[in-house]
């Protein structure tokens, strides 16, 4: 790496939106709703505001008072009604943050309480924002057969929590009514579109400058949009530069939403353990304004049977509206909850069929040539067998599993012999897909363009890539193919106005797509190089897979699927139910790994995230303390193309841990997070 750059980094010369030393900047303070649901009666202030201080209400917005994500939207500032606690109602703007704090107290806000929406409940039907029903066969023929084993169960999981680093501060620089918005985001286009609509401005007058956000969870999709819109609005009205800084007291931004997922599963197996029929009924909690409901529900429908083969399905999925903050989006939607429950369920099925989990899994694994229920065939080999082999052998899974099972058997026989500690081991499998299902136009495209001229090569990207080192890889790729000096290669992010919009489906860390496009562009330019005069221009656009029919749910929407397997061994202390994880083996098949060290830190972070999700705290896992987890990571590189990695660990690890706990405690787990209260909870 460039030494200058590293030095700048270390000295903190990389700027962030909040690093503005100019004294002439206005600060913004949010006025939020103190109650959950109600209608706004009055918003007034007793004393006149000092000069340069003012209040912005929903009525002052020149354009459309909405934040629109293509699939789902919510108002920027609540106008008449509030639907969730801490919903923003107005903005206080002024040059000194301390004075803003004082002024906030003089603002009188009267809200009449209203009845809140029903709590999250899987059988709730009325408050649905979206639902999907699919039925490929019915179970009628199976009902009466005697050799069929029926299993059913219910799982309830609280969603993952988004990390709040680095905070999504934003700044808006008003340069003669051209709005330069500085923010930490990976979706500049969404911000641009929303600000334009909000202020009723032409395209040219809104400019976005993105700042890097490194390996942090890329799920923070709507916070930057909100903070940027607040800034732009304040800057539009005040005609000055504005900064929105998130303070630790801002509950609104520091209480990231966690939606619940309820999953009911019913399955039929024959005596050989083959999965014959599966019924899935699930409900997602979408908060007050459900976002991406279609995408999230459909994605879960597509992966109904997880990594197992089953074509006879009955699916009913929906998204429920509740009185809470809108829930965000993770790279794979809510798939982690579904895959976790399917893995837990598969264990229960295996038990009923009198098989070990490994046997059951091997019988039912999805293989090359197997069809999805959508009618598509799995073209590439998922290599699940190799993955299983790669985790099972080093961890000695089979022997340990039966040993612990025998130990449990003894305890069950004579409960007075309950030992102080017991152990459990479990295997789980999972997968992840990279792109969005939806075919809505503004949600999917990603365009790369490249220009070669006298100055060198300039590459324009739709969004900042997941990691800074990718630039390095691409520029060395280009310099090799075109034999130009690396210093003459420039990267721009979303510069030209004519370019097509980039929707959230183009996850910026989705190197799968961008890497491929860049490679193609470079090849094209290399071909044209000495035949045509400079400048040479080349562009590539990502298009949604054609063999996917969204309305009828037919075909195969995903270009690549990544797979993974994990084995976890842990020890449970019965004295205080504390858990001590002893070994984690993870093997991932996510194509070519471009940056090994980045990939392993992504996995490292994902392990932390999963543990936080399962145990609701990081106490059991301090990523850098002395008790660093003993985890063995291996990548199985089967293809030459990079594939999705983010979110894969969250899809496999929780299931393995929960199953291992189930084995050690002799109690099947149905609830996430695994807190003592939930251990004993009845379904």
């Amino acid at each position: 790496m460039n030494e200058r750059y590293l030095k700048d980094k270390l000295l903190g010369k990389i700027r962030y939106p909040q690093n503005n030393t100019s004294k002439k900047i206005l600060y913004i303070k949010l006025i939020c709703s103190p109650i959950e649901r109600g209608s706004i009666e009055e918003l007034s202030w007793t004393e006149p505001f000092p000069k340069d201080y003012f209040l912005i209400k929903a009525k002052d917005i020149p354009g459309k008072n909405t934040i629109d994500f293509g699939d789902g939207s919510f108002p920027l500032l609540a106008d008449e009604e509030v639907y969730y606690p801490y919903q923003p109602i107005a903005l206080l703007v002024g040059p000194a943050p301390q004075v803003l704090k004082e002024l906030e107290e003089t603002v009188k806000l009267k809200i009449n309480k209203k009845e809140i929406l029903p709590e999250f409940n899987i059988s709730e039907q009325e408050q649905c924002s979206y639902q999907r029903e699919i039925r490929t066969s019915s179970s009628d023929g199976l009902e009466n057969k005697s050799e069929i084993i029926w299993v059913e169960d219910y799982f309830e999981m609280e969603g993952q929590q988004h990390s709040s680093f680095p905070p999504a501060h934003s700044r808006c620089q008003n340069e003669g009514m051209v709005f330069n918005i500085h923010c930490i985001t990976q979706w500049p286009w969404i911000i641009k579109k929303n600000v334009q609509q909000l202020l009723k401005l032409p395209k040219k007058m809104v400019k976005i400058r993105c700042y890097p956000c490194e390996n942090h969870q890329e799920s923070k999709i709507f916070h930057p949009v909100q903070t940027a819109s607040f800034c732009a609005l304040a800057s539009f009205i005040s005609k000055k530069n504005c900064l929105f800084q998130i303070n630790p007291e801002d509950n609104y931004f520091y209480a990231p939403p966690k939606g619940k997922v309820g999953i009911y599963l019913k399955a039929a197996c024959n005596h050989r353990g083959e999965l014959l029929h599966l019924k899935l009924d699930f409900s997602l909690e979408g908060g007050a304004y459900p976002l991406w409901s279609k995408e999230r529900v459909d994605r879960m429908c597509f992966f109904t049977s997880g990594v197992y083969h089953c074509r006879n399905l009955e699916i009913h999925g929906k998204m429920q509206r509740t009185t809470s903050m809108p829930t965000g989006l993770f790279p794979d939607g809510d798939l982690s909850s579904l895959l976790t429950s399917i893995e837990l369920f598969s264990n229960i099925m295996a038990e009923e069929c009198k098989m070990t989990p490994l046997e059951w899994k091997t019988v039912n694994l999805i293989k090359r040539g197997n069809g999805w229920f959508t009618g598509a065939l799995l073209a590439r080999n998922p290599s699940l067998d190799e993955l299983i082999k790669a985790v099972v052998e080093p961890s000695d899974y089979q022997r340990k599993y039966s040993a612990y099972q025998y130990q449990n058997h003894l305890i069950k026989k004579d409960s007075s012999k309950k030992p102080q500690k017991s152990k459990g081991i479990a295997l789980s499998l999972g997968c992840i897909a990279n792109n969005f299902l939806t075919q809505q136009r503004d949600q999917s495209p990603a365009t790369i363009s490249m220009t070669l001229d006298q100055q060198g090569l300039s590459i324009e990207l739709p969004a900042p890539p997941g990691h800074g080192q990718l630039y390095k890889i691409w520029s060395s790729m280009a310099s090799e193919a075109l034999s130009i000096d690396e210093n003459n290669i420039r990267f721009d992010i979303y510069k030209s106005e004519e370019n097509n919009p980039e929707g959230p489906s183009c996850f910026s860390r989705n190197v799968t797509i961008i890497h491929h496009q860049i490679k193609q562009c470079i090849n094209q330019i290399a071909k044209k190089r000495f035949r045509e005069p400079l400048p040479l221009f080349e562009t590539r656009r990502f298009r949604r897979s054609r063999n996917w029919d969204d309305d009828n749910f037919k075909g195969h929407p995903y270009q690549h699927l990544s797979w993974g397997a994990a084995v976890v061994e842990l020890e449970l202390n019965h004295e205080d139910n504390s858990i001590n994880i002893q070994q984690i083996y993870i093997v991932l098949e996510s194509g070519k790994i471009l940056l090994p060290s980045v990939a392993s830190s992504v996995v490292n972070q994902a392990i932390g995230q999963s543990l936080q999700w399962i145990f609701k705290s990081t106490e059991n896992y301090n990523p850098m303390g002395e008790n660093t987890l003993p985890f063995n990571l291996q990548f199985l590189e089967t293809s030459k193309e990079p594939k999705a990695l983010d979110g894969l660990v969250q899809n496999i690890l929780p299931a393995a841990i929960m199953q291992a706990i189930a084995q050690a405690s002799c109690k099947n787990q149905h609830f996430l997070p695994v807190t003592p209260g939930n251990w004993e909870r009845k379904k």
């Binding site: 704090k101 004082e102 007291e249 102080q420 019965h574 004295e575 205080d576 139910n577």
Partner: protein, 284 residues
């Protein structure tokens, strides 16, 4: 600078006389011991409505002293310094616990006084300090007819927690007995009723218990400790018998800990059963 929110006033006295004056005039003044943010999970936070005393000079408060039996630490010694000085002579359990609770940068900025004043009662550290028989020096300012004078009083921590901390008082020195406990056990039982923390300390000589401490802490309740149990254990080879264990559980219930026959009781009995086993396990 009278504000609705924020600190009322900050004083920077140079000697005890100044402090006397401040405490005398402003009843609710307190020493500033590094605590700050309300949101931090390990800290009790700063009472924003009180006056703060940030002494300049006053070496007495920043000193660590040693007598034959005790170590005396001023309230303004930083935790890190305390750990580094006492490492060789004070019980390891205390330092392990402080290290676990506060990362290095916080230990640098927090002062010992924070342990006594800032922490919530439910923090295991408080219980630990009680079990170690720590005492503290409490300075009270008494206004006589003509002038105010200073009264110094040594109190056991447990006593201090029992009677209410009143205005016009300052906590100045923490005194920790020099005694290395060889064995310790800290367990948290999280059950439907809440979180119960158990701390046991012991010294064993040739398999006999030569010294023993046991205490409990449950959420907002004061630390629970019964010296009778401790005395009865001394000199034994085994710890509690079945009846005594039941008694301990009953004692907890009597003191306001919500009961739970299904989970809390068996866990508690199991921990008490295994105490000795843990102790023998852990040799330094």
């Amino acid at each position: 600078m009278a504000k609705k929110e924020g600190i009322n006033q900050i004083y920077q006295p140079r000697n005890w006389n100044d402090i006397i004056k401040i405490v005398d005039n402003k009843g609710n003044a307190q020493l500033y011991t590094g605590q700050w943010n309300k949101n931090l999970k390990v800290q009790g936070g700063l009472d924003l409505h009180s006056h703060l005393i940030v002494p300049q000079g006053l070496e007495e408060l920043k000193r660590i002293g040693r007598t034959e039996e005790h170590i005396e630490v001023g309230a303004l010694v930083s935790l890190e310094e305390f750990i580094n000085t006492g490492k060789k002579i004070l019980p390891i359990v205390l330092f392990d616990q402080i290290r676990k609770d506060f990362p290095l940068p916080l230990r640098n900025s927090l002062k010992v006084g924070h342990l006594l004043k800032g922490l919530q009662v439910s923090n295991p550290l408080i219980l630990l300090l009680c079990l170690l028989d720590c005492s503290l020096e409490r300075k009270t300012f008494k206004t006589g007819k003509k002038k105010t004078h200073l009264k110094t009083q040594w109190l056991y921590l447990q006593q201090h927690l029992q009677d209410k901390y009143s205005n016009g008082e300052l906590l100045c020195t923490l005194r920790v007995p020099i005694y290395r406990w060889d064995h310790y056990l800290i367990r948290n039982i999280q059950y439907s009723g809440g979180l119960l923390t158990i701390i046991a300390l012991a010294d064993l000589t040739r398999g006999y218990v030569s010294d023993f401490r046991l205490g409990f802490i449950y959420e907002e309740l004061k630390p629970l400790r019964n010296k009778e149990w401790e005395a009865s254990i001394m000199g034994r080879k085994n710890l509690f018998n079945q009846k005594e264990k039941e008694n301990i559980y009953q004692y907890l219930l009597d003191n306001g800990v919500p009961g739970d026959e299904e989970y809390l009781k068996p866990s508690l009995l199991m921990i008490l059963d295994n105490l000795l086993y843990h102790f023998q396990d852990r040799e330094y």
